[in-house]
């Protein structure tokens, strides 16, 4: 990406559960690395991807790194548009309360903590996808 180039809208679409495959962790790493380019980034969590944001993950028993705390750092990387597909949550018997409370600090509002996650329906998700310059799927 060129220095001073136009800002593009990037959407990362996450559809896999964590730990069972490498997609979730790879996506998170790409998001963090990509944040250096200061683009307009949004994340969508659809299908099993919603499980990535499940509260209370504890991987001591499986000998893998618990990377769920890293989602809390996204706000520091200026990534605060996190969209969760409502239908995917519902068919899994989950609600917003089952997800981690991801927040970001609004510097223009005296560092007020604001929620990063928005629940969206199919219409809203489809509209969000249509607004993007680049869609990256994991």
């Amino acid at each position: 990406m060129e220095e001073g180039g136009a800002t593009k809208k990037f959407l990362y679409v996450n559809r896999r559960a964590p730990y069972g495959s490498i997609y979730a962790l790879e996506s998170l790493e790409v998001v963090l690395i990509g944040a250096a380019f200061e683009q307009d980034v949004s994340l969508a969590f659809i299908d099993d991807g919603v499980y990535q944001l499940k509260k209370g993950q504890s991987t001591d028993g499986i000998g893998m790194k618990n990377f769920s705390p890293t989602y809390n750092a996204l706000g520091d990387y200026d990534i605060n548009k996190i969209y969760v597909d409502k239908d995917s949550l519902e068919e899994r018997g989950l609600t917003l309360d089952d997800l981690m409370n991801l927040t970001w600090e609004d510097e223009t509002d005296n560092y007020a903590e604001k929620p990063s996650i928005s629940l969206v329906n199919s219409e809203e998700l489809a509209a969000l996808m249509e607004q993007q310059d680049v869609v990256l799927s994991f």
Partner: protein
């Protein structure tokens, strides 16, 4: 006796559905890795699991370390499903005549 193992999320693959369609009375089913999501209450697969236990007389187990890794606690497990640790997994393998893995 057969042990069926399922390691894929029921939302991602049809392994759980096919497994439960073909598991016979008295068979054991073990959910592990992403397969553990099938053991959680409130999903659209709960009825299928319950039916397999009640009508087909299948015994369903879930590998607890995999369940807990994914942020679920024992309160979230459909009643009737038994939790096992790694030693319990091994016991299931040894006490069954064959293992059918639904990959």
């Amino acid at each position: 006796m057969t042990l069926h193992t399922v390691n894929k999320s029921p939302f991602e693959a049809n392994s759980l559905e096919t497994c439960l369609r073909l598991a016979r009375s008295g068979h054991n089913v073990l959910l592990f890795e992403d397969g553990v999501y099938g053991a959680s209450k409130g999903t659209r697969f709960e009825a299928l699991i319950t039916e397999a236990m009640q009508k087909q007389n299948c015994k369903i187990h879930v590998l607890l370390p995999d369940f807990e890794a994914r942020g679920m606690s024992t309160d979230n497990i459909i009643s009737g499903i038994e939790t096992v640790d790694y030693a319990g997994f091994v016991d299931l393998v040894t006490k069954n005549e064959r293992v059918q893995s639904w990959l």
